[in-house]
Symmetry: C2
Subunit: 298 residues, 2 copies
């Protein structure tokens, strides 16, 4: 059945997990007819009911192996901590030539936790669509989530070129610009652009939680002055982010080390009243904003 | 002339400085006819030209004392570091009964740097409209900036009740909800909601600047994954923020101390792989977001 439908890239796609990204991918695949059958699995009946209600799948179930059977493409859309067990479970069901991919925020984990379980003849193409919101669950997804954003694929040196091409085409059809990158480099870059910012946002919001009640109420009331922007990030899915920090530990700790050194230097400048150090630093940071606006990632 | 016009609260208002907040206040005062004459001062001819071009003032000039002469209300809209010199300059020009206020992000500075210069019979009512964007300069202001936001007034225990009432009415007419607070408490609360978040955003964006060029380019490219939100904050006016950190040093260092303790604890949990600590922390931070949405400060 593979690719026999008009414009369809895949016969059967299995999406393991139906959160923000998984459900958005299901919507994009459905909208553009990129697969002939979409199988979706989730861990709770409530999520499966929601997937059915939103008409995101042709079949639903709890069992990843059943969904992966006869699939041309299996995409892991779960927290990273579940990857190993899912890979072990689906491995016997995978057909030769099937592609196994994912949408996770760390990529080395695919080589560490997934690849060892995969049988010969199955192609692994790790993927990271760099898009998201602070909302979770199948009801928060939307097909346009990916439009105008980057998708990073991190195939290994032995990866099947055809499989990489098909994954590239899938994300292109969803509206993304696809980049190929080494998994370790991806994890280093994303530690800086994503994991560290989330860790810091989680920290500062946590600091506010620990305040006495009256002060906490005031922090919420006057949050428009800066704090608010951090709370949006810190409302992201807790289990997903727990796993990101654990699976990308070394790169996150390295990024955090750079950050705390720089923070300590600014703290010192404030304590000593070093006017020029502060002004110079705050002037330089403006340019980065301009770069982001120019790169149309604003 | 005071208040003789229909609905006008003040005869002559002098705005010292015409940045984002000063120019937005000028627009709101003009729109609603809250003063009969708006005098605006700035330090550069370019800013004054812009103020004239935008028709924000009835008179413009470089000299704060000339603007303050015969004014019923003088509002300092400059970086905090300029307050002392301006207060000294305008003091001889102030008429009895005049109100001196400001729009700064720290409030104790009004008691430290401004009050000592003011003659008897002049009423000081420090103010902080908690609103803003990352943009600077007279062209970035807009009259609606204040709508639905909070304005904090921090009059001293000896303040003139009538003056406080008139300042309350001014900000109410601009669309704000006015709160009265102790200046020191204000500075503590804002250190948490505003100054610390800005310091952290400035730091993390600075950390990215120091990366080698190739990595920096990638950080910009993939900034949509979290980093971007920090760059908006870190594009705020450098001189304004330099002065905030210097004038609210003790409260900022205290807030920073709480933050770094919490960050160190999370760092430790990541290094040790403490799954539950991380998940628990990230779950709690979600609730704060809900509080902000409920408080309509989103």
């Amino acid at each position: 059945m593979t690719g026999s439908g008009k414009d369809s890239l895949f016969g059967r796609i299995a999406l393991i997990g139906a959160g923000l990204i998984g459900s958005s991918l299901a919507r994009a695949v459905r909208r553009d007819g990129l697969a002939q059958h979409i199988a979706v699995t989730a861990r709770t009946q409530a999520t499966l009911d929601k997937v059915v209600e939103l008409d995101l799948a042709d079949s639903v179930g709890f069992d990843p192996a059943a969904a992966a059977k006869d699939a041309d493409l299996v995409v892991l859309c779960t927290p990273l901590g579940a990857y190993g067990a899912i890979a072990e479970a689906i491995a016997p069901a995978l057909k030769p030539g099937a592609i196994v991919s994912d949408v996770g925020s760390c990529k080395q984990v695919m080589f560490d936790d997934v690849q060892p379980h995969l049988p010969d003849g199955v192609h692994m193409v790790p993927g990271h669509p760099v898009a998201g919101t602070e909302h979770s669950g199948p009801e928060s997804g939307f097909a346009e989530l990916f439009e105008g954003r980057w998708c990073i694929l991190t195939p290994g040196p032995e990866a099947d070129a055809g499989a990489v091409e098909r994954m590239t085409e899938l994300w292109r059809r969803a509206g993304m610009t696809v980049e190929i990158m080494d998994a370790g480099h991806h994890d280093q870059v994303l530690a800086l652009t994503s994991h560290l910012p989330h860790l810091i946002a989680y920290t500062i919001v946590g600091t506010a939680i620990d305040l006495e009640d009256e002060l906490k109420k005031e922090v919420i009331r006057y949050s428009a002055s800066g704090f608010r922007d951090f709370t949006r990030i810190a409302a992201s899915d807790p289990v997903m982010w727990r796993d990101v920090f654990l699976k990308n530990r070394d790169a996150v700790l390295d990024a955090l080390g750079r950050f705390t050194e720089d923070l300590t230097a600014l703290q010192r400048a404030i304590r000593r009243g070093e006017t020029k150090t502060l002004e110079d630093h705050f002037t330089r940071t403006r340019d980065i904003r301009r770069g982001i606006i120019d790169a149309k990632q604003d």
